[in-house]
Symmetry: C2
Amino acid sequence: MENRHWLLPEGIDEVLPPNALALERLRRALLDRYGSWGYELVSPPLIEYLESLLTGTGGDLDLKTFKLTDQLTGRTMGVRADITPQVARIDAHLLRAGHPTRLCYCGTVLNTRNDDFGGSRSPLQLGAELYGHAGVESELEILCLMLETLECAAIPEVYLDLGHVGIFRALTRQAGLTPPQEMALFDALQRKAIPEIEGLVAGFGAEAQSAAMLSALAGLSGGPEVLERARVSLSAAPEPAHEAIAQLEHLARQMSRRRPDVQVHFDLAELRGYHYHTGVVFAAYAPGLGTELARGGRYDDIGRVFGRARPACGFSADLKLLYRLGQSEVEHQGGIFAPACDEPGLVQRIRELREQGQRVVCALPGQEGDARAMGCGETLEKQGMEWIVAPVV
Amino acid sequence: MENRHWLLPEGIDEVLPPNALALERLRRALLDRYGSWGYELVSPPLIEYLESLLTGTGGDLDLKTFKLTDQLTGRTMGVRADITPQVARIDAHLLRAGHPTRLCYCGTVLNTRNDDFGGSRSPLQLGAELYGHAGVESELEILCLMLETLECAAIPEVYLDLGHVGIFRALTRQAGLTPPQEMALFDALQRKAIPEIEGLVAGFGAEAQSAAMLSALAGLSGGPEVLERARVSLSAAPEPAHEAIAQLEHLARQMSRRRPDVQVHFDLAELRGYHYHTGVVFAAYAPGLGTELARGGRYDDIGRVFGRARPACGFSADLKLLYRLGQSEVEHQGGIFAPACDEPGLVQRIRELREQGQRVVCALPGQEGDARAMGCGETLEKQGMEWIVAPVV
């Protein structure tokens, strides 16, 4: 009978040498980068009571969340499927600063389904969040930090996709859609299913102009000319839709000043994380990598259920995905092979070398494998009274 | 109505600034230390099929493991309650070296109950494992690395508790105990419940000499004289018990040569992790800290169910507990507060400072809080054409 105890569930992976160390190096580089921008590290818990994890985030997170029963209380807990709502709780409840708060994190999340971030059900979610500022400057800072993240992971030719949930929201409100109608249209828009969108819109019985604008949304994607086209085709839209277009334009102009090297696309029907986003939404892609690399946006008031609504924006990514798709270097470690001997002079020498950051592998009596097999290019040899590091010949 | 969405389940905690960064620094220092000893980092998955997580580890891990249903297959998965069996799988199945393999890890585990490592149900398990060598030298290496771990976490006056599951195992075999009898006695021994032990042993109907030796076990704890006392009171024990005592003596002698500063206690009834341990078991404590700080032992053949039985020993600890109990330093971060301005010269200067490892926090237009409120002792000021770092006055 075949031994299959080692098979992992679909979408669940592990990281082995030498990749685990290279991934760790990337993790450190990114968290240090966030620190240099003033983002403070937080480490929210892996599980919480379900109501804390899900409040304010809408139904999509519920379906993604693994449920557990707390044997101590009988209450239902969930394994986090997203860290952003946890960080919102921390900002709202625990950190009571009135000034802007910058927080970052890196931790494993679980997803019941493998429809996210490259098919993984256990992404190593990494992200940064900026609370307490409503202007385009905080969105710009988050976008720049997201771009630096992808550069640090050595992913070339990244481009941005910008959208704004305020446009869709204003149009559905104007058309008087019911929540189920809005949901169905949202779903069809995500799939860019044009005939379905037109069928749905026709069936809603909304006013002709309103219906035409909802249908037009799916076509409003492309380069900078999209915003111009949107102004024309959505000219009869309510004021919030125009404000949203103006905000997008402002942000894009700031981006092109700060990062003229980065291409920006617009997609006014892109509504990722629609349920908790409240303004600009964005994602990063790269040519030939058929998946979203990072995403984020504005989600003002996400902390309201925790007792404190304030402006918020941020981004997140799957560190394992960035590592896999990027060109991070895998170090060759090398090392010094020390003989199996407990002479105090040798023990002391080994300690010193390790303190200097050298990798010293001690031989074990009778072991299989020589210095090379143990990954070492050098050995410790006794010359006179001294223990000397010498190359393996 | 009080807002209670922020309450965490019992035994579940989160780490906030500035502790999260200090914990991260300790994590890095320890993983780097393990690297300098030749231990390679692995990152096993948070969840696996239950049979993979539990095979070979006995029933205690089953009760500790949260169960999840895989929606893709309907199979039962578990959230790991211990990383050691996962690392054994990796050694057995994925790394096919004949020579000794050294692996280390750091990751969150979950526990259904709060009866472990200081009451936490989500320890950040950290550990190192050495596969492929059966001698006392590998146990000594693991013990020394465990001690260095506690030193690195700034926990003073650590002492060791050594035991050996081979003694109890040989005696129960000799006495002909059934598995339930063995289980009951094991349980009473852990609690050092002397009257209960004597009652149990009397009821087993074993030969008088055998029974007396089982009863004697609970009293065999203390300083180095314990091994001498064990030789006398267990003189009629089968050969494997004597071999176990000799192994303990050998290891203790080596330890006192290598680390004469560390006190060693013996406890022949201490059988932690009995179900997968096969030889020496050990734990570290410190005066006044009423909990086990780290533990480990030998668990040869743990990889058998994954297709490869070989010698193994290792240790593990809860990094969050070590951080909490140790005297790790919390850095004061400081930083430079930059004005809200997108002049290219300023943007460039900020970039350079960050690349030098400085923390630069950008003001956001209209924000509340000055440089000091943002944790910065310096600001960026324009003098002539230059942007200069100046102290906050």
